[in-house]
């Protein structure tokens, strides 16, 4: 456990909420920086760039999404949006604007830490060269040879199904919105055709999952997108 200590910037105006986040993060070995407003957050981000940001959207001096967009102009540090807004539109907007994840209040410590770990792992993986072979549970995705096995057995995927799975595997643990998936797989003109996505995801589930009605790996975020679950 000699990993460098990661700093997480908590942008939240509710003091008790900040106290909970600080306690939860500190008890799991993170260094915590805090900001109670957009202005403080911008200063904190530029003065000492954190490894991850927990961002509340409703801030006293503006919308957290503005900070997200500005940070995304120069930083790839994972941003996890923490919000009381639970409508899928809000989630999609934040994810499309570059958020790595979206946590709806209320949530427990374990959920929070799991999301942060996924996001940090991601950020690190993207820093290095992409792994040619990814293993998620029983699923093995060989990017170079376009091969997929589940539990050691070869699975035949169509090119679109492979691209979908490879994309989700690259961002394992993270929700990819319908728009993001459609743009990556079908191109920028197909972003409205969510039914393409649903048909191919259903086919993919049937090939990957033991029980496609109770998917263990390919999780659906209703109205938002899909996520390949981490172990």
């Amino acid at each position: 456990m000699t990993e460098p200590v990661d700093t997480v910037l908590v942008v939240e105006d509710e003091v008790p909420m900040r106290r909970f986040l600080r306690a939860a993060l500190a008890s799991h070995g993170f260094r915590v920086a805090e900001a109670g407003s957009l202005r403080e957050a911008e200063r904190a981000v530029t003065e000492a760039p954190p490894q991850a940001i927990l961002l509340d959207l409703g801030l006293p001096d503006g919308d957290g999404l503005d900070l997200l967009r500005r940070v995304r102009e120069w930083s790839t540090a994972p941003v996890i949006v923490v919000s009381a807004r639970e409508r899928e539109d809000d989630k999609v907007t934040a994810l499309d604007a570059g958020a790595d994840d979206y946590l709806t209040k209320p949530f427990g410590t374990s959920e929070l830490l799991a999301r942060i770990r996924v996001a940090l792992r991601h950020a690190r993986a993207q820093g290095g060269s992409a792994e040619p072979v990814m293993v998620i549970g029983p699923i093995r995705v060989d990017h170079a040879r376009h091969e997929v096995t589940v539990g050691g057995a070869a699975v035949h995927l169509t090119p679109i199904e492979f691209r979908l799975l490879a994309l989700l595997a690259q961002h394992v643990g993270k929700v990819l919105t319908h728009r993001q998936l459609l743009r990556e797989v079908w191109g920028p003109r197909a972003t409205q055709h969510t039914h393409y996505l649903r048909v191919h995801m259903a086919a993919l589930r049937r090939k990957i999952e033991a029980d496609p009605a109770r998917p263990r790996w390919l999780a659906t975020e209703a109205g938002v997108g899909y996520r390949l679950r981490d172990e």
């Binding site: 909420m17 986040l21 306690a23 008890s27 009381a84 393409y196 109770r214």
Partner: protein, 482 residues
């Protein structure tokens, strides 16, 4: 106020007399000029007659009659005077012309005046000019022709004038009625209530129709129809405006309710997040707590989660009840069932959930709301049945729709509550289980919003079945890609 309304009193026939008298004065003046100092005597007499006829105001009938007589006599007397003088000094070839002119002038007063003047002219002409002069005898027959012409001119002119006057009066009346109709239209257009319209009808109908007694003539009937139509238009306009106002009010109330609920939800979620967060944090930091204290912490976390679910349901029901547009997409049933089972995972812990879906089933729905519907049905089943009893979820095509059923092996529904369970805040008699009674109401709201239906009933072999029908759909055709 109304530029079209003519408040002047109806035409006064006295104006006509004035005109006649003015003409007479003109004629007399010309006569005096012609005769010079020698005609002074006759001129003075004529002037006196004219002045008498001009006297105003007229206090009584006697004077009025006198005036009418003067209007007849004046021009004839003037013609006679001019004729006599002209004969003496200039030698006019035919004095009958002067009398024709006099008759025409007098006839401006009407047919009676024309005929009177004609009679007087015949007498005066016969007496003063036709030989033998100064007696009422006619020597030559052709003078009777002159007399006849004089009567004819008097009658024709008089009739013409009367007819003209009638036409004029009629057009004035029409003008007045049109103005009144316009005034009514303007009143009706500015009316703020149906009461205002009826007031405007009552106020203007008399003006518009004129003082009619008995049956209405064609014109009056047309006007009445116009009033009726205008009033109808005005009332329709008011009803439309009322409706628009009511709709705007409803939309405003809906917006208020919706924004109030999302504010409440938002403001409740943050404290809930703090409670949940702190409790889970404590549970983790104190792994060696005695069992009962640990249970307390678990209860705090569970209750906070339940409150969060109530908020989600409140928002969902607001969304469907506000009539907001649903985001309908074709979605495989399997996908919605999968995500609903995932979300209901905590409530379903320790249960055997059997799933039986017809292959390739799709529904055209709002994915988020439909997931909420299934989560509520699953949680409802889990809440009202003994722990560990099985739950079954099945889906099958039913005509154009897809029926999704959640069945349990619990105690079943209390008799007679099959429809009441979907009412808001309904709770079974002697319900042991805590709950706001919102979950099933949300299910019903979502089903109805999709044009679907939901029903509850007893299950063969014991337990209850909740079945929801949603619009079905085949997977959309895919363009050949990649």
């Amino acid at each position: 106020m109304h530029p079209y309304r003519d408040d002047a009193p109806p035409d006064d026939p006295g104006d006509r007399d004035d005109l006649a008298v003015d003409v007479v004065i003109g004629v007399v003046g010309a006569g005096l000029l012609l005769c010079g100092p020698t005609g002074a005597t006759i001129g003075a007499i004529l002037l006196a007659v004219v002045l008498l006829s001009r006297s105003r105001p007229r206090p009584g009938v006697a004077l009025h009659v006198l005036e009418r007589v003067a209007a007849c006599v004046g021009p004839v007397a003037a013609a006679t005077a001019i004729g006599v003088l002209a004969d003496a000094h200039l030698g006019l070839p035919d004095d009958a012309m002067l009398y024709l002119f006099a008759i025409m002038v007098a006839a401006l007063g009407g047919r009676g005046a024309g005929l009177g003047a004609a009679a007087l002219s015949v007498a005066a002409y016969d007496f003063f000019f036709i030989p033998p002069r100064f007696e009422f005898a006619v020597a030559e027959a052709h003078h009777f022709v002159t007399f006849a012409v004089m009567f004819a001119v008097g009658t024709a002119m008089g009739t013409l004038v009367v007819r003209l006057r009638r036409t004029e009066a009629a057009s004035r009346g029409r003008e007045r009625r049109t103005a009144a109709l316009l005034a009514f239209t303007s009143d009706a257009a500015s009316a703020k209530s149906v009461g205002d319209v009826t007031t405007a009808v009552a106020k203007n109908v008399q003006d518009v129709l004129g003082a009619h007694h008995g049956a209405l003539d064609t014109e009056a009937r047309e006007l009445a129809a116009a009033i009726e139509q205008q009033a109808g238009v005005a009332i329709a306009r008011l009803q439309l405006a009322d409706e628009a106002r009511a709709q705007a009010l409803r939309a405003q109330a809906e917006e208020l309710r919706s924004s109030l609920l999302s504010t409440v939800s938002h403001d409740l979620r943050t404290p809930l997040a703090i409670i949940t967060g702190m409790a889970t944090q404590l549970r983790e930091a104190l792994p060696d707590l005695p069992a009962d204290q640990r249970e307390s912490l678990d209860t705090i976390v569970d209750e906070a989660r339940r409150l969060g679910n109530v908020l989600t349901n409140l928002l969902s029901i607001t969304r469907v009840e506000s009539g907001a547009e649903l985001r309908r997409d074709w979605v495989p049933v399997e996908e919605i069932v999968g995500s609903a089972l995932d979300r209901a995972g905590v409530a379903l812990a320790g249960r055997d959930v059997a799933i039986a879906l017809e292959p390739e089933l799709g529904v055209v729905v709002d994915a988020m709301l439909t997931e909420q519907l299934l989560v509520n049905l699953l949680e409802n089943a889990a809440k009202h049945t003994p722990a560990g009893t099985p739950i079954e979820l099945s889906a099958a095509k039913d005509g154009e729709r897809v029926a999704i059923a959640v069945s349990d092996r619990g105690p079943g529904l209390p008799a007679g509550s099959e429809t009441r369970v979907f009412e808001k805040f309904f709770r079974g008699p002697g319900a042991r289980v805590a709950g706001a009674g919102l979950g099933l109401a949300v299910c019903r709201g979502i089903a109805i919003a999709h044009g679907g239906d939901i029903r509850a009933g007893a299950r063969d072999g014991g337990g209850a079945t909740f079945r929801v029908w949603l619009p079905g759909g085949d997977p959309p055709a895919l363009e050949a890609t990649a």
